[in-house]
């Protein structure tokens, strides 16, 4: 019987071709939804086989070219990311199935590229050895490029910038896998895992740097993070939310696979940097700490809603990597769970923002305000999303962040805990700015007749927010999925129950925490309704303005530069070193280009010929004898 993995890949291929061909007609969205739903079902079946004791589900697909064998199989880790991919694809297609799609210029390309991305990611996560990993990696980065460059103009430049970063990363990765091959004789994971402990430290360091850099570009770890925000923001709605939710996490999959599963955190910890307390693992940990803080405070300063959320995507990536690199089962479970949680609330947030853009034609936070009365359900989605993004109790974001903090506490790393907490504070500030500038405050004159987003857009958003809430209340559901992934990594599982995690020195039971919170809010509601007279709702113009009469032609609203005090304190800290480094690199290439172009135009070839001959003979005469 044809294996599960093969059916999955074939189905993904058929969806890609089918959606590209039938992308234009009205039911393309529904076809996509059905296809991605089927894929998700298959992935769940794979999950069952895996949880039933199988280490991996093999695929019949295998080639050997020029003596290099390539195999494909999906293990627990790959399965977890495959589930995220097909899930995100399903919600993106659902969002595209309704009214939102009619307004889009190039429906076929959007549907086609979304399906192509899902196919590419499934290929990547089911790679069996380094060569298929590299091939999958390349196809994923090119599929993402195709998706980003649809709208042309700023999108095209952002996509080109992404492409150069991705290619540089891919070349580093290419060098990495070739060094692996020359060091261990083959591309297989098992051989590398066996051989790596006794490799010379120099090759170990080279491999570590190359793999971290190669995968780090896609994960947008700090030095390589400049491309992600504009590239993800200028992509059209549903695809942008798909990219935000899942695309950057492919980097995390690969990093986890190589650094944790194959090399192992102990080995990384062993690779000390001379004359410092740091070793490979702690150096990377501090890089993720910076990745948590710097992008979050850049997000704080954004005035475009999509850019703000995209910058947060980079910050949240730092949390996941932090959890995974801590190395304890609790930290690993926290990191992987955060990947799942992040996918749910980030997609809900992006879909909500694009619903607002769909209705008000702008994502600029200074042009919006007071939409809560016009778009209440979008408001609810955004509210649940930001509670998740900020990591506050009722939502799932809190559970994974708590596990990461607890693992940091148990391994006695206070400074990292402080860095993570500073990142969370920055997130809380910027998400409040997001929801305040769009939904709260005075409604603008031109938005008086704005209607609520259509049902076809609301349902996916609310379902995602619902998933976030349910997995927040009962994290056990998500943790069981994380177990399958963690079992493949060989670090050991983190025992958990439906409500959360029980540890000797401080446990978390979300059933009680969220249960009591909801009950307490119920008590608050009772107090509100029974103690005190009935409420009387007044218009936004019946407001205290120091005795001044408010009227619609004067905008009585505070949203521009929302944190002036903070901006004055941390404003000077934004020196944009990384931006300067990037521009420096560009000018270096341009100068080299001018130089070599000049050489070709400087003189005619015979002159060079004579110079070359004379120098060559001189060289031969002097050095040839040795």
């Amino acid at each position: 019987m044809i294996g599960l993995l093969d059916t999955l890949l074939v189905l993904a291929l058929l969806t890609t071709v089918g959606l590209y061909v039938f992308g234009a007609n009205r039911f393309a969205g529904y076809i996509g939804m059905a296809a991605y739903a089927a894929m998700t079902v298959i992935v769940v079946l794979v999950g069952q086989t895996l949880s039933g004791g199988e280490t991996a589900v093999p695929s019949a697909m295998a080639f050997t070219v020029l003596g290099y064998p390539m195999t494909w199989r999906i293990d627990g880790l790959g399965w977890f990311f495959a589930l995220l991919t097909t899930g995100a694809g399903f919600f993106a297609a659902w969002y595209m199935s309704g009214e939102w799609n009619e307004a889009q210029p190039n429906k076929r390309i959007q549907h086609g590229t979304l399906a192509l991305n899902v196919l590419a990611m499934l290929l990547l996560v089911s790679s069996g050895d380094f060569l298929s990993l590299f091939i999958g990696w390349e196809i994923v980065s090119w599929a993402a490029f195709a998706m980003m460059t649809q709208l042309g103009g700023p999108a095209a430049t952002a996509a080109l910038r992404y492409l150069l970063y991705a290619l540089a990363g891919a070349m580093a990765l290419f060098a990495g896998i070739l060094i692996v091959r020359s060091a261990t004789g083959s591309f297989a994971f098992e051989d590398f895992a066996a051989a790596v402990p006794n490799l010379p430290t120099a090759t170990k360091w080279v491999l570590f740097v190359l793999f971290t850099a190669g995968f780090g570009v896609k994960m947008a770890i700090v030095p390589f993070h400049l491309w992600q925000a504009p590239a993800y923001s200028f992509t059209p709605g549903a695809s942008s939310s798909f990219l935000n939710a899942v695309s950057a996490r492919m980097g995390l999959f690969a990093l986890t696979l190589v650094l944790i599963k194959l090399m192992g955190p102990a080995l990384l910890a062993g690779m000390d940097i001379a004359y410092t307390w740091f070793d490979a693992r702690s150096a990377l940990l501090w890089l993720t700490a910076i990745t948590m803080i710097v992008p979050t405070y850049i997000a704080l300063m954004q005035t475009d809603a999509r850019m703000l959320l995209a910058w947060h995507g980079i910050g949240q990536g730092g949390y996941m990597l932090l959890g995974i690199l801590v190395g304890t089962p609790l930290g690993l479970a926290g990191g992987l769970l955060h990947t799942f949680n992040y996918a749910t609330y980030q997609m809900a947030l992006m879909l909500a923002v694009f619903a607002v853009v769909h209705r008000t034609k702008t994502a600029d936070l200074d042009e919006l305000g007071g939409l809560i009365t016009r778009m209440p359900f979008t408001y609810i989605t955004l509210l649940m999303g930001i509670i998740g993004l900020a990591g506050l109790p009722p939502m799932n974001g809190f559970v994974s962040k708590w596990m990461i903090y607890k693992s940091l506490l148990n391994t006695a790393q206070p400074l990292l805990l402080i860095a993570a907490f500073i990142g969370t504070l920055g997130t809380i500030l910027s998400v409040y700015k997001l929801i305040h500038n769009i939904f709260l405050g005075q409604l603008r004159l031109e938005h008086r007749e704005v209607k609520e987003a259509p049902l076809s857009m609301l349902l996916p958003m609310l379902t995602l927010a619902g998933i976030g809430f349910v997995t927040g209340w009962m994290p056990g559901l998500a943790l069981s999925m994380v177990d399958i992934a963690q079992s493949a990594l060989g670090i050991g599982l983190q025992p958990h129950h439906l409500g959360g995690v029980d540890l000797p020195n401080g446990s978390l039971n979300m059933l009680w925490v969220v249960g009591v919170l909801i009950a307490a809010i119920g008590v608050g509601a009772l107090i509100f309704y029974f103690l005190g007279n009935r409420r009387w709702e007044v218009s936004q113009y019946d407001n205290y303005a120091g005795g001044h009469f408010l009227s619609a032609d004067v905008r009585y609203h505070f949203s521009h530069e929302f944190y002036p005090g903070l901006a004055r304190v941390i404003g000077p800290w934004y020196r944009g070193w990384v931006v300067k480094m990037e521009r420096g690199l560009q000018t270096l290439v341009a100068v080299l280009g001018d130089l070599s172009g000049g050489v070709f135009r400087f003189a005619h070839t015979p002159f060079y010929l004579l110079v070359a001959v004379s120098l060559g003979l001189l060289w031969v005469g002097l050095f040839g004898k040795i």
Binding site: V65, R181, F600, L609, G616, L617, W619
Partner: protein, 484 residues
């Protein structure tokens, strides 16, 4: 083995004969001359194919005029030679000059080119290689000037002067070898080389030969003619020159490296030259102003890649060299076909996708393959090249790092153009492609896709050819039986 021997000389003789007969036939009608030329080229392809299939691991050797090895001129036809004879003929066929490109004169020169090229690859005698190198050079000067305008003549003249100087260097080199080894037969030289050509004379000879052949093989110091000639020459000539002819010079260098020069200093010299060629080619392409120049510099870089592959020890190097050379022979001419219509500054290309979607799609496919994106063949060529480099370690690893960095720059300037093509047209739209203009490029595109699907069998075949080419011992034994 002997039956195959005398067919060895046919790929050289038939086109040569055709070249001389063509002006006479042209009297009876231009179309007839063109048909005859095409027939001869097809025959050459067939001969190449028969040689490839006839020759297993054991190469076919013919002593011209019956004179035995060390004294007589010998033709050595192994799989490598057969491959390049076939590739040269196919290239000539696809880019056979049109009637308006100088008619009979162009046909004769192309046939001359094919003859010289085949001879260059097949001959086992050093001086014989020089003779065929001169024939190829002369033919390419003529073809380069065939565009008929002032720029074409100027470029061709400068190319002639440079070619002459290059050939003279080769001659001096051969003289040195002859003085030291006393013989001109490659197998014989190979046998005597360890003690005769080990010192500075060997090194000097190597330097001169490499620089001489480097002119045609577009190695660094001597390739400044490339952008000028490729821009001035007509598209079909540029395609043949860039695609195939420059590879032939590389084959000669390959033969020399395998058989004669094993001195590590020589190898490091060639690697240095190769690296500089790649870097110069890629960065110059980054600043090139129009499409044609970009591809000219890009072909320089790719040739540098082949040279780098040659320096890699053992069969891995040879296989990588052949793979990259073949891939470049397929991709670059197609690029030049597109560049022929899309002239002028890069900014003017905006809106190209709407005007000529086929050309734009082909451009992306070719760009993807030349950068080395799986599953396209470009990737496997790079994989073999870099795999060999990293295996060799040390300086080769540094060279591989340079190649990887150069690839990113290559992607930058290629996809800058792709992004431009897909943007809506600002001012004037770029030219539209008629099917006849684009047909050679589409054919090459199809070849590329076919190669992608059958990359495994092609890989094994090429590695077999590389193994036999790299085996100096069997070459000497084959040519000089019993005279080890």
């Amino acid at each position: 083995m002997t039956s195959g021997a005398n067919t060895l000389v046919l790929p050289i003789v038939l086109p040569l004969l055709g070249a001389f007969l063509l002006p006479l036939v042209a009297r009876f009608g231009d179309g007839l001359a063109r048909a005859l030329g095409i027939v001869l080229v097809v025959v050459n392809i067939f001969l190449g194919w028969t040689l490839w299939s006839a020759v297993g691991t054991e190469a076919a050797v013919t002593a011209l005029g019956g004179f035995e090895a060390p004294l007589g001129i010998v033709l050595y036809g192994d799989r490598l030679a057969a491959l390049f004879v076939a590739v040269l003929a196919v290239g000539a066929l696809i880019f056979w000059p049109r009637a308006e490109h100088g008619g009979v004169k162009a046909y004769t020169l192309t046939l001359l080119l094919v003859a010289g090229g085949s001879g260059l690859v097949l001959s086992g005698d050093l001086f014989n290689i020089f003779v065929f190198y001169e024939i190829v050079a002369v033919a390419s000067y003529g073809l380069a000037a065939s565009s008929g305008d002032k720029a074409g003549f100027g470029a061709a003249l400068r190319y002639l002067v440079l070619g002459a100087l290059g050939s003279s260097l080769v001659l001096i080199g051969i003289g040195l070898v002859y003085a030291a080894a006393g013989t001109l037969n490659l197998a014989d030289i190979a046998r005597l080389a360890p003690e005769k050509l080990s010192g500075t004379t060997g090194l000097a000879a190597f330097l001169l030969l490499v620089l001489g052949f480097g002119v045609k093989a577009e190695l660094f110091p001597v390739n400044t003619w490339v952008p000028e000639v490729y821009a001035a020459a007509p598209m079909r000539v540029t395609a043949i020159l860039a695609g195939v002819v420059s590879k032939l010079a590389m084959v000669v260098i390959l033969r020399l490296l395998v058989l004669v020069f094993h001195d590590p200093a020589a190898i490091s010299l060639l690697m240095a030259v190769a690296i500089v060629t790649i870097v110069a080619g890629e960065f110059a392409a980054y600043r090139a102003s129009d499409l044609n120049r970009t591809f000219a510099y890009s072909s320089i870089a790719q040739l540098g890649l082949v040279a780098l592959a040659l320096t890699i020890p053992a069969t891995a190097g040879i296989l990588a060299a052949i793979a990259v050379a073949l891939h470049h022979a397929v991709v670059k001419p197609a690029f030049f076909v597109i560049a022929a219509k899309w002239r002028g500054p890069l900014a003017g290309l905006a809106g190209g996708a709407r005007v000529a979607p086929a050309a734009a799609g082909l451009f992306v496919l070719l760009a993807l393959s030349i950068i080395g994106i799986p599953p396209l063949p470009g990737f496997w060529a790079k994989l073999v090249l870099l795999g060999g480099a990293f295996d060799a370690g040390g300086a080769y690893a540094f060279a591989a790092a340079v190649v990887l960095a150069a690839t990113v720059v290559e992607a930058a300037y290629l996809f800058r153009v792709v992004a431009r093509i897909w943007q809506p047209a600002a001012g004037a739209k770029p030219a539209h492609f008629a099917f006849s203009d684009l047909s050679p490029a589409l054919l090459l595109g199809v070849i590329l896709i076919v190669a992608t699907l059958f990359v495994a069998p092609i890989g094994t075949a090429l590695s077999g050819a590389a193994a036999s080419a790299a085996d100096a011992g069997s070459y000497v034994a084959r040519v000089l039986p019993g005279r080890m």
